[in-house]
């Protein structure tokens, strides 16, 4: 036994004792849960009985495929591909799904979860502007810092959800129906309800941004190209000592951010490096990525924050180029809550291993700025996709009743970055390889089809499966700088004494009647709303109409085609208490056009129309009628074009709950399987819908 004592003594013994403590806790928890179970079941039963609840389905599973395009799906159907989706279309429902105005993910998924239009849920774009400063802020989240508060009120930084209304799973929870909600956009910060949720879009990385990668490069030219990330210059030596920047250091001091030591040791003969980052060490071959590597940033004697990142060696000779992904919050020890309840992310991490937690987990900026290759981006995207599939399968395995929702972002990200391969005349193809990844998007659709097949096989026969996308996709060839157009039309005036810059810094507010910001539209410089507003409220309606009319007349000098398919007056398009928070005129571009990169960050200089030469070559910020989503189900729903807002009331009805009056969506009736299945319907246009 002596060897055993020696083995146990140093640490294993404590671990064994610890495991018995966990066992003891588990037994206690089990006993408590079993003892209180009858009471809890009785309460749920009473609540359901009082509401007269008579659900028609025991389980609803919703698989969200962000950006899954119905046109491409039909084309692949015709080629005999996507067999599982075809089967769904054959036995159940397959129809286009009217998206939101504007057709972008945060808006569309907010409407999906609340069943209301943006005027009621208050999400109009990725970004909103601070009305006093015109600086950008996330549309769905506001961080309220505890700095400057008296010590007794310094409970830490608070994160406030700006999405209004309530998700339908909260209503389900009120009736005792349990939900698992995985990575549905605009669920950060997590809200309490009867169920589990893992936050998605707008969840920050450890630096508090929406995804900032780090590039270590010895090449001065590569350093100049990096945008959207940090570039740390290094010198190519056998042993490189540097540091990985982390979150901001709240203590102040010589550095503005916390740092982790990073040592890169170049193997003299092989094409690989040996990396030591904090307490982790590993070797990395050329053009290879690591899994999730934990990194710890110490901010004091007993204070530290942990994150996860992936390393990839992009180049070794003549220059070293090491890419480090955005540092995601570690789900096993999250620096801020990313799930409800908080232990859910810990549970998932313990069960399936580390996983991506940042809202925009796939590093599109890394690829866009050339920090990683297309192959690396694909690898990263599919890894994240696999992580999410594991979570979904676990949720399906655990839950045989209630609601399960999981959104997969892969289709959206891949179409954004690889659409140029589908469009031979895309400006981004100039000087770039167009053959290597020519079939990536179609292959991705096959993968999604296989995923749907696995989900369909995993659920019980009486479960309802819904597959939907929030919008379709099209090419993004030309960027429209609305601010430049507004200058040309005389609505916006620039200051001559200030150099052009981001965030409308050179706008002469005393003479500006309208300005553009973000992806979706134009704001009026309204008196009483904007801090330096000049447009009287009584002129606003006329001005909106005037701008909308002129936008629809805008022609591209390159080919004479229309730039804008339809411009929408937000005040007639939306209803609800928050409709004045969004843009006043929403621009529905023609296919191939979108807000220019400069326009999105509020720049006023440059041409009104410019070629998009970036790898981000596909988009969906166009007229909603041009990019509808798709809806498939294994059940037959009543005929008629569906809107993404219809999903929430429809699912509530499936569980026997009457949808609240405020919901804009229409509950679709479930038709018994003996009746004729629903056929594909032409989509209801946004214009018809508004009428």
């Amino acid at each position: 036994m002596i060897w055993l004592l020696t083995y146990v003594g140093p640490g294993a013994g404590m671990t064994v004792v610890g495991s018995f403590f966990v066992l003891l806790t588990a037994v206690g928890l089990l006993a408590f849960s079993l003892l209180t179970l009858p009471c809890r079941l009785f309460l749920i039963w009473r609540r359901r009985r009082a509401a007269g609840l008579r659900g028609r389905v025991p389980q609803v599973v919703v698989v969200g495929l962000d950006g899954f395009d119905p046109d491409r799906m039909q084309r692949l159907f015709a080629l005999g591909r996507l067999p599982h989706l075809q089967r769904l279309a054959g036995v159940g429902t397959c129809t286009t799904l009217q998206t939101t105005l504007p057709p972008i993910s945060p808006v569309a998924w907010s409407s999906f979860q609340t069943g209301v239009n943006p005027g009621k849920h208050n999400i109009f774009d990725f970004l909103n502007r601070d009305l006093r400063t015109c600086l950008p802020e996330l549309s769905s989240v506001r961080t309220i810092s505890a700095d400057g508060q008296p010590w007794w009120r310094r409970f830490g930084t608070r994160v406030q959800m700006l999405r209004k209304s309530q998700p339908f799973w909260r209503i389900l929870g009120n009736y005792g129906i349990f939900s698992t909600v995985l990575r549905v956009p605009i669920t950060y910060p997590p809200e309490p309800f009867f169920g589990l949720s893992l936050s998605a879009m707008c969840t920050p990385d450890l630096r508090g941004t929406q995804g900032t990668f780090t590039m270590f490069s010895s090449d001065p030219q590569a350093r100049a190209m990096v945008t959207g990330g940090l570039c740390i210059p290094i010198e190519r030596r056998p042993r490189i000592e540097t540091w990985l920047p982390g979150p901001a250091d709240s203590r102040g001091g010589s550095h503005t951010d916390l740092r982790a030591r990073l040592t890169i040791q170049i193997h003299p003969k092989k094409f690989e490096v040996y990396i030591r980052c904090g307490s982790e060490s590993f070797s990395l071959e050329l053009a290879q990525s690591t899994g999730w590597i934990p990194v710890t940033f110490r901010s004091g004697l007993l204070r530290q924050v942990g994150g996860l990142c992936q390393f990839r060696l992009e180049s070794l000779t003549p220059h070293v180029r090491l890419y480090v992904s955005p540092i995601h919050l570690d789900p096993e020890r999250p620096a801020m809550p990313i799930s409800h309840p908080q232990v859910y992310s810990i549970y998932l991490a313990k069960l399936h291993g580390a996983f991506a937690t940042a809202g925009l987990a796939e590093d599109t900026w890394g690829l866009n700025s050339g920090a990683i290759s297309e192959a690396a981006f694909l690898e990263q995207t599919y890894r994240i996709h696999d992580e999410r599939e594991r979570m979904l399968m676990d949720a399906l395995h655990r839950m045989r009743r209630g609601l399960t929702v999981c959104v997969f972002d892969g289709p959206d990200r891949i179409q954004h970055m690889f659409m140029r391969h589908d469009d031979p005349h895309h400006p981004a193809n100039a000087g770039r390889n167009v053959t290597e990844h020519a079939d990536v998007i179609d292959d991705m659709y096959d993968r999604m089809d296989a995923l749907v097949g696995r989900v369909a096989a995993a659920i019980l026969p009486d479960a309802t499966l819904m597959v939907l996308s929030d919008h379709g996709f099209c090419s993004f060839r030309r960027g429209a700088n609305l601010n430049a157009w507004l200058i040309a039309e005389g609505y916006l005036t620039r200051r001559t004494d200030v150099a052009a810059g981001d965030y409308l810094s050179d706008v002469d507010w005393t003479q500006t009647r309208a300005y553009a910001f973000g992806l979706s539209g134009i704001y009026l410089n309204l008196q009483g709303r904007e801090s330096r507003g000049i447009v009287p409220p009584e002129d606003a309606a006329r001005l909106r109409q005037e701008i909308a009319g002129k936008l629809q007349m805008w022609r591209d000098p390159q080919d004479g085609g229309r730039v804008v398919s339809r411009a929408y007056d937000a005040h007639t398009s939306y209803s609800g208490p928050y409709k004045s928070n969004g843009p006043d005129v929403i621009v529905g571009y023609e296919r191939g056009y979108r807000a220019a990169w400069d326009c999105a960050v509020g720049r006023t200089d440059g041409a009104a129309l410019q070629d998009n030469t970036r790898l981000w070559s596909g988009d969906h910020c166009v007229d909603p009628d041009l990019v509808p989503g798709v809806f498939l189900s294994n059940r037959v729903f009543s005929a008629g074009a569906m809107s993404i807002m219809d999903l929430a009331p429809t699912i509530l009805c499936l569980f026997g709950i009457k949808p609240p009056e405020y919901m804009d969506g229409i509950a679709r009736e479930l038709i018994p399987a003996t009746q004729t299945p629903c056929v594909t319907e032409p989509e209801r246009t946004m214009a018809e819908s508004l009428a």
């Binding site: 002596i2 055993l4 020696t6 003594g9 588990a26 089990l30 079941l41 009867f194």
Partner: protein, 275 residues
């Protein structure tokens, strides 16, 4: 005596014999280093920290399930089994290197204990010699005589203990290096060497009949014949103690502590962890 025993004896006699005139501490450190290097080697080869970590995480996740799915009767009813199964997997993963190293480390420790567990009888000390007879040889009717005795001032016995079927001799050692007594029990002769020394020597407090496992447990001397009347000879040597500051403790305990410390040090140097 097995060839493995013989080989190990040669190795340890060479290692510790060289230090017999030196400090007991040096010998202890050497023995601890030998055992800990073997332990670290086994963990290095057989240890699966990733698997241990994964099984630990799975076990903890199973416990968290109770918290997350406490509304679900199905989960509650099956939770106990799943948690216990996950815990069993975890513990077995954790102790896999210990299981693998059990046999070689036992053998090595037994040889080391022969050197460190006891010290020889001093001059004029009293030593008790116990002979355990087989059941078919009753202690009262089996003839016993001392054939030869050298290096003892006084020999008392045999004392016959029928309840235990044992014979005992009380031996008082004289001022010589090695005392030796030869006994005839029935028709068989048994020779027992009793070292009288202050230095580090290999001792065999227990000698048993020739069985493979017992040979490993008591490796210092040639085993007893399986046909003879005596099944075990026990010599009561004093325990070897060392002083750690003012604290007197057994040398084997210090050896365990040293082995643990050196194992941790080695693991740290090699970046090795159990999980």
């Amino acid at each position: 005596m097995s060839s493995m025993n013989r080989a190990l004896q040669l190795l340890e006699d060479w290692l510790f014999g060289a230090l017999a005139f030196g400090s007991i501490w040096l010998a202890l450190i050497l023995a601890a280093a030998l055992v800990s290097s073997l332990l670290v080697g086994v963990v290095l080869i057989c240890g699966r920290p990733q698997a241990v970590r994964a099984s630990r995480n799975r076990f903890q996740a199973r416990t968290l399930e109770l918290l997350l799915f406490r509304h679900d009767v199905r989960v509650l009813c099956t939770a106990c089994g799943r948690i216990l199964a996950a815990n069993a997997v975890y513990i077995s993963q954790l102790f896999w290197p210990a299981l693998v190293s059990a046999l070689p480390l036992t053998v090595l420790w037994m040889h080391a204990l022969a050197w460190f567990e006891h010290r020889p009888a001093g001059q004029g000390h009293l030593t008790v010699l116990e002979l355990q007879l087989a059941d078919e040889f009753p202690v009262l009717s089996t003839p016993v005589e001392v054939v030869r005795a050298e290096g003892f001032d006084n020999i008392v016995g045999p004392v016959r203990i029928p309840a235990c079927n044992q014979l005992c001799f009380r031996l008082t050692t004289a001022n010589v290096n090695n005392a030796e007594i030869t006994l005839r029990v029935g028709t068989e002769e048994y020779r027992q060497l009793v070292p009288i020394d202050e230095r580090l020597v290999r001792l065999s407090p227990v000698i048993e009949r020739d069985r493979p496992w017992l040979q490993l447990m008591h490796p210092a001397d040639r085993p007893l014949s399986v046909t003879g009347p005596v099944v075990r000879i026990v010599t009561h040597y004093p325990k070897r103690t060392v002083f750690v500051g003012q604290w007197e403790c057994s040398a084997s305990f210090v050896g365990i502590v040293l082995t643990g410390a050196l194992s941790l040090l080695g693991a740290r140097m090699l970046g090795l962890s159990l999980f």
